[in-house]
Symmetry: D3
């Protein structure tokens, strides 16, 4: 059974605290994910993966953050992108409060990996690490998942909304995945900071989602959790 | 059927957009709620109430914010309190992005009502209202629920974790409510900005939770939704 | 005789400091108050009440802040509304400096009670309270004055610029009060965050100012000061 | 008769607005001024000078700001120093609101002249000037008063709390000036940013206050007002 | 001949402006680079590369920024790490001002590639791109240089202060490179946000600097400039 | 030989640290300097003067900051003006990091002297001085150079780009100085915060640059360095 932080009373929280639990904060995003995947794909993945990890390490899952920094996809309908500062402050405050409460082991697990997004999270984590003795890990689980690129049927250039992500989502929220299986290719001019990314990304994805399957998704998800468990056990 | 914003694809979002939908952002908190109610009580109430409202007005429910400004309860184990600025920026960014996407009707529905918390939300809403033509409502549903104080078995001084809140929670998340039914009384010296609120609030609640019942909860919840529907229809 | 902080030299301040004085910071606003009351009504009330309180508790009155957060009345001519952040920082800095100087008892007394305004003040007070051992009280004196609603000739829904405020002002600054006695009614749609409040508040007041009198004003002012003295003596 | 902004009703403000009035914002400070002058010396001077100017140019005097940036005198008892950001935001907000109200001529008149203090004010003025068509002047009236150094009995190195300031204060608030007439000399090592200025400034003043007189004060005050009137008439 | 922005007068700047020049902002860092490379290695590389690029595209080289975000190397002596916000604001302001001056083509070229560092730069670039019609490129030239990993004698895991960086520096500032050729290996536990990175990085580099040579350096530098020229020509 | 901070390795920095060195941070600006002087004039002067000072006091020269707050010259082509906050944060961060590294003697040497610019620097220095035991000096070297006004051929009202500055530049960067020798006069209306300074400063300088000579420049530069050495030796 996985414990949710928000389902505890203040007294049962005190009991859990004695066991020096690992608190896991899932961070997602609300952004375009192609014609086949829902806007909340990153949130669904982060939450499911956090729970799978919590089950293995007896962790405590915090209420998820479902909004992230998604500036590069703002041109697509539905994307809600936080500013760097907003995400930074929210994560900073949550970590500060956990440490103030006596929590000493924290994992911030994002399934969205945009540079500014991860940077806002890591900046907050560094500040919290400076605050005291807590051990803090921060990662995007795609840093793990994409190690599988080049294996199986996963192309080395698979990306946003592609084979890996579609496969994972077919496991996590199968009923939300439509029939479309778009094939997308990012052709943004190198290094250009463009105001009109949509011009360069017609499908809004990078990869061939038609190669996705729930079998592959299960395999990827297992791999991600196993690697997460190893990483957590190495330091916590 | 209630539509969740994060379950839409960017294409189905575009379709919904044409109907000029009301977007509802549920805002909760993660804070002490007595020995009988979970830390996430405000989040559970906000989410459930937002969905009930969405069902009635064909609204679109946004991913909830489960952290709020809870500074007065920081002394109790488990409370995670955001700074004013963090909550302000997150709500500001979400509203800005919704308006940028073409959304013109927004309801920010909080079940946590602390002054600084609501003030952070309203400040963000005012900025968004200055941005353009969107109609924005912001409220704590306890502004409605507490209108029932003095009726039925609800004392006029019922408050945090008391009869009303326990009754509502018995409907929303019955399995999370323990057997304890504490009776609490706030005796914080008037107007004192104290660093040690816990000293004055032994039970962490204000009211007599033993008088709560799911019957009363259903009644209150119905009343809240009816009033919300009226308020929304009056302007949107 | 009431001591004003700004009338002391640095040496006479040092002498006063030995008596562990209560420092009182009056906070007002510059905003529309109906056709009969001046823009500085809240400042005049805060300053007069602070002096009356100082007289009773041998307090030291600080130079007043005459600007506040008045966003909801921005549509009316003359209103000057600070941002939350501006008021927050000024109050934070003043309290920090008082505590650095050795002051250990502080009362922030506002006669303007807007949610964001009081929230900016209280947020600053909480930060100062976290800073050390100072005892800090913060309130809007209308939290006291409106306890009289429902007594005498004061209607339960009296508000901004109504019977209570007009009566108090007839005592504090009688020569500034004109002959007009408007009757106003707030009909802003519930919970709407509107950009055009003026549309809903033709008179800019809430209540029937024609029922005001200096006799009632004296009574209210006495009550406010007595309650303030009690509250201060309870903790300082 | 001098008009005070805060004494107008919203309707009389509207009437005044038609005359395109010059709004004058007095800015003072709360800081050590030697054993003979009160902590609020700069505020008293700013307010009195603003009113004298208003009388001459038919200006509208705003409620004064009585706190400034006084970091170099923090070591002395009683000094309350705002941060740069606090003063900057308050002045910025007041100017923004005046311009929003239709005011097109603004004079920010400080009697405190610290570099960071004036810089906070001028930065706010520049932002307001960028906002639109308002004509904005900002100055410390000591930029004028010290032009008299080297004339009469005023030494060229007269400064904070010295002959000029003591003389002016003998006119403005004669009852608050004690019998002491300290002689001070600033011997802070050149360019050193010191944490312990008090070590270098035993009297807390720069100059020989024993040479001050109300006759000289009247002369200086007249000169300051005349120059102010000229400067204002040159551009407004 | 390469034009330096700061060597132009305001009149010669106006002349250059007519040619719609590409402005290149070199961004470095001041941080530990192993026992053999100077603290300013990233600044030297950025400046030299910017000039080489300017020569090819007739660009205008801006004064370099020699400080960056280097939080992960703070444990090593000499590292000066800016906060995210400081770098973000400086780059934002420079870009804003260039655009205000009429510059329409900007390349921000960093030789430091830390995630938060590049994220601060890119966030500023995105804001500037939103401001108007300027075309803005932003990159760390190691995004190009490391494409050569796996070719020649460059290992696939070469990193900070390794073969590539040492080789490049042997070309740019040969007299500053000492005789030491350390071999380092990053063994920071995966995803850990550590306060004590030095514990895990004894040499402060990642790679085998003994394999570096100025021949290889010239080859890498040429490749970097060629790729930069291509990227610039593709969009500007 | 003058040591440059950025040319040291982390090990040689550690060696230097033992000698308790004076770190000198040169701060310039990128702004209009008349038709005869380059945009980077202040940066060139700051850097050259810092090196001359370092030679005399065995100081360590930090990488220069070449951008400053130049708001009053924004109307002239080429000026790049930072916001107060950007300069403040960068200087604050650099000083913080130096102190964290064990540096205890710091000189911030600017050749640009605008009020807001110096105020941003000094505010940062005060914060760093509050941080611990470091001795910090901050100045614009024109505070020294202009003491020579009224001597030799230097008029008492010489200013920006005039005799003194042109003479100094003829020594520092003779090849960058053109043949023009403009004569300028600032006639900005007193105390006006203008959006259109260029209207009042046709030549963009204050003074008669035709009276400048490299002989005078050498004399001034020597004087500046001697005075700097004295000031530094008095406290460090």
């Amino acid at each position: 059974m996985v414990l949710s932080y928000d389902e505890l009373t203040f007294e049962s929280f005190e009991v859990e605290l004695k066991g020096d639990p690992i608190c896991i904060l899932p961070v997602g995003a609300t952004e375009e994910h192609g014609r086949h995947l829902p806007l909340g794909s990153d949130s669904f993945q982060a939450y499911s993966t956090a729970r799978a990890l919590a089950e293995r390490v007896k962790g405590l899952v915090l209420p998820p953050l479902s909004y992230g920094v998604s500036s590069s996809l703002k041109d697509f309908p539905g994307t809600i992108s936080l500013s760097f500062e907003a995400l930074h402050l929210v994560v900073r405050d949550i970590l500060r409060e956990l440490i103030r409460n006596g929590i000493r082991k924290i994992v911030v697990l994002s399934s969205h990996g945009a540079q500014a997004h991860m940077s806002a999270i890591r900046t907050a984590c560094e500040e919290a690490a400076d605050q005291g003795d807590a051990k803090i890990m921060a990662l995007c689980d795609y840093e793990i998942a994409y190690k599988l690129r080049g294996t199986d049927s996963i192309p080395v250039d698979d990306g946003h909304g592609g084979v890996v992500e579609t496969s994972r989502m077919l496991v996590f929220t199968p009923t939300l995945i439509g029939d479309a299986r778009p094939i997308g290719k990012d052709s943004t001019p190198a290094y250009l900071v463009s105001r009109h990314k949509k011009r360069y990304m017609t499908e809004g994805i990078i990869g061939d989602s038609s190669k996705a399957s729930s079998e592959l998704g299960k395999k990827i998800n297992s791999y991600v959790v196993e690697e997460l468990v190893k990483a957590v056990r190495a330091v916590m």
